[in-house]
Amino acid sequence: MTTPLFAILLADAVAAPEDPAAKFIRLLTVFLLAMWVGFEVITKVPQRLHTPLTSGSNAISGITAVGAIVVAGAVATAGYRFGNLLGLLAVVLAMVNVAGGFVVTHRMLEMFQPKKK
C-alpha cells in the first residue's frame, strides 16, 4: 500500500524527464571521470616536458571559447544585447588563450626536436 514517503518519492520521480539535480549529477560524473583520467595521464609526463605541458594545457583551458561562441551568437531579447557583447569579449579573450597556447607550445616543442646541422 502507498505510504506517504513513497508517494512523495513517486511524485518526484514521475515529474520531469531530467530535473536540474539529475543533470548536475550527470555532469559531476563526467567531471570526476575526466579528473581521474587527467591525473593518471599527466603523472606520466616527464619533468623535462613540464613547461610545454603547462602551456599546452593552458591552450586547452581556452575551451571556454565554445561557451563564448554560444552566448555571443545567441538571440538576444530586444533591449538585452549586453549578454551578446559580453560573449564577444569572451570570444576574443578565449581565442587569445587558445591560439597563443597552441602556438607557443609548438614553438617550444620544436626546440626539443633533433635538428640536422
Binding site: 567531471f31 599546452g56 551568437g73 607557443v104
Partner: protein, 478 residues
C-alpha cells in the same frame, strides 16, 4: 540523429582528442603530434559550437551578422594570441603562460555573466522563476569567482615575473591577512546571497569584483620567485573555471577539457612544492620569498678562490667528463647559446659533456630544458637529478652556471637550513667545481652557499653570457 546529437558527438571527439593530446605529452617527439591533435580537437569543438541551437536560431532570426561578429572576434583573438606566442622571447615563457592563463579565466567569467544576463532577462520577460536552480547558481558563482581570481592573479604574476617596477617589492601591508579575511567573508556572503537570488546580475558582478580583489591581494605578497607555483595553481583554476562554465551551460566538452587542465595544474603545483620541500600553504601564505638575505660573511670569509677564464680553460684541458649545471642565472643572462658553443668546443676535443637538470632549477618546471633545447642541445644529454647524481664522483669538472640553491650542500648537511631536506644536485662531489655568477649574492632562497667556499670550488665572477663566451674563446685558444 538530431543536430544536437551530432554536436554532442563532435564535442565527444574533441574531448577524446584532448586526452590523447595529454597522453602524447610523454615524449618530445610524440608531444608535437599531441599538440596538433589538441588543436584539431579545439577546432572541432569550436566549429560544432557554431551549430548550437541558440546560434542557429539567431541565424534564422537575425541573419548572418551575429555569427560574422563572432568570427571577427575569434580572428582578432587568434591573431593577437599567435603574434604574442611567436614574438615573446623564450626566456619569458613563465610570464607568457601567466598572461594567456589570465585571459582564459576572464573569458570564463564573461561566459557565466553573459549566460546569467540572458537567463535573467528571459526570466523577467516570461516571469518564470529561477528558484530551483541552486546547483547552477553555485556553478555560475564559482565560474565568476574563479575566473576573476585567475585573471587578476595572473596579471600580478605577469607583472612580477616581467619585473615591472610596480611589482618589485612584495606587498606586505601589516593588515593584509585581515583584508584577505574580509574579502573571503564577503565572497561567502555574496555567494550565499546569489544562491538565494540566482537571477541577480548585481550580486554576480559584486562577486566578480570581490574575486578580483582577492586575486590581487592574495598574489601581491608572494615573492616573485614563488610565482611559478602560483602560475601552475592559476592554470589549474582556469581549467576548473572552464569546467564550472560547462556545468552552467550543460556542456560536457567544457567539463572534460576543464577538468583535464585542472588536474594537470594541480599535479604540477604538487610536484613543484615537493621539489622545493615546501608546503603549498607555506608558498601561498608564508614569506620565504620575502626573507632578508642572511649574511654569508662567516661562510665565505677568506675561502673564496676567484679565477679567470684562462685558468678555468686549463683545468678543463685535462677533463674527460664535464657536467654543466644550469640555473636561473642562465635564463637571466640568456646564455644558452653560449653554453652550447662551449660544449661544442669541449666535445670537439673529445670531452664528454652532459647537463644536470634539477627539477626546480630556473623559475618554472622544465624551464632549463626549454632553454637548452632552444639552443639545439640534444634532448638525451639533459639528464634528470636522480639519474645524474651518482655520476658526480666520476666527474672531472662540474660547471655551475647561474645556479645556486639547487646545488647548495646545506640542504643535505645542515638540518637548520631553510632548504634542509630539499633534494639537490651533488656537484660538490665532482673533482673540481666551477661556479659562474656575478657576485656572492644569494639565490632565490636568500641563504649563503657553502659550496662556494669549498676546497675544490673555483668562482668565476661575471655575467653568465659574457663569462661563457670568454671561456669558450680561452678553451679554443688552448
Amino acid at each position: 540523429m538530431s543536430s544536437q546529437a551530432w554536436i554532442n558527438l563532435a564535442y565527444l571527439a574533441a574531448s577524446m582528442l584532448f586526452i590523447v593530446a595529454f597522453k602524447l605529452m610523454t615524449g618530445p617527439r610524440t608531444a608535437v603530434k599531441g599538440n596538433y591533435l589538441g588543436a584539431v580537437g579545439m577546432a572541432i569543438a569550436l566549429i560544432a559550437a557554431c551549430f548550437e541551437k541558440p546560434v542557429l536560431e539567431s541565424f534564422a532570426e537575425r541573419g548572418a551578422w551575429p555569427l560574422v561578429l563572432v568570427g571577427i572576434a575569434a580572428a582578432i583573438g587568434a591573431a593577437v594570441g599567435a603574434v604574442m606566442a611567436v614574438k615573446y622571447p623564450m626566456t619569458g615563457m613563465p610570464q607568457m603562460v601567466a598572461l594567456l592563463n589570465g585571459f582564459g579565466g576572464a573569458a570564463s567569467t564573461f561566459v557565466a555573466g553573459a549566460e546569467l544576463w540572458n537567463a535573467s532577462a528571459t526570466a523577467k520577460l516570461t516571469e518564470s522563476p529561477l528558484g530551483a536552480w541552486t546547483q547552477f547558481a553555485i556553478a555560475t558563482a564559482l565560474t565568476g569567482l574563479i575566473g576573476a581570481v585567475t585573471f587578476w592573479g595572473s596579471l600580478v604574476a605577469f607583472g612580477k615575473l616581467e619585473e615591472l617596477p610596480q611589482f618589485k617589492k612584495p606587498w606586505t601591508h601589516p593588515n593584509r591577512h585581515w583584508i584577505n579575511l574580509g574579502l573571503a567573508v564577503a565572497t561567502l556572503l555574496l555567494g550565499w546571497g546569489f544562491c538565494a537570488y540566482p537571477s541577480s546580475n548585481l550580486l554576480f558582478w559584486l562577486l566578480v569584483i570581490v574575486g578580483s580583489g582577492l586575486g590581487i591581494t592574495l598574489t601581491m605578497p608572494i615573492g616573485g620567485a614563488d610565482m611559478p607555483v602560483v602560475i601552475c595553481l592559476l592554470n589549474s583554476y582556469s581549467g576548473l573555471a572552464a569546467a564550472a562554465a560547462g556545468f552552467v551551460i550543460d556542456n560536457s566538452v567544457l567539463v572534460i577539457a576543464g577538468s583535464l587542465v585542472g588536474a594537470s595544474g594541480l599535479i604540477l603545483t604538487a610536484i613543484m612544492c615537493q621539489a622545493m620541500n615546501r608546503s603549498l600553504v607555506g608558498v601561498l601564505f608564508g614569506g620565504l620569498g620575502t626573507t632578508a638575505a642572511v649574511s654569508g660573511d662567516d661562510v665565505y670569509a677568506g675561502k673564496i678562490k676567484s679565477v679567470s677564464a684562462e685558468e678555468i680553460a686549463m683545468v678543463l684541458e685535462g677533463a674527460e667528463r664535464v657536467v654543466i649545471v644550469p640555473g636561473y642565472g642562465l635564463a637571466v643572462a640568456q646564455a644558452q647559446h653560449a653554453v652550447r658553443e662551449l660544449a661544442d668546443a669541449l666535445e670537439k676535443r673529445g670531452t664528454t659533456v652532459e647537463y644536470a637538470i634539477h627539477p626546480v632549477a630556473g623559475r618554472m618546471p622544465g624551464h632549463m630544458n626549454v632553454l637548452l633545447a632552444e639552443a639545439d642541445i640534444a634532448y638525451e644529454k639533459l639528464r634528470e637529478m636522480d639519474d645524474i647524481n651518482p655520476t658526480f664522483p666520476e666527474t672531472d669538472v662540474a660547471i655551475v652556471i647561474g645556479a645556486n640553491d639547487v646545488v647548495n650542500p646545506a640542504a643535505r648537511n645542515d638540518p637548520t637550513s631553510p632548504i634542509a631536506g630539499m633534494p639537490i644536485l651533488d656537484v660538490d662531489k665532482a673533482r673540481t667545481v666551477v661556479v659562474v655568477k656575478r657576485s656572492l649574492s644569494p639565490g632565490f632562497a636568500g641563504i649563503p652557499n657553502p659550496l662556494f667556499a669549498a676546497d675544490n670550488t673555483l668562482m668565476y665572477f661575471a655575467d653568465g653570457k659574457k663569462a661563457i663566451l670568454d671561456l669558450t674563446t680561452a678553451v679554443q685558444k688552448n
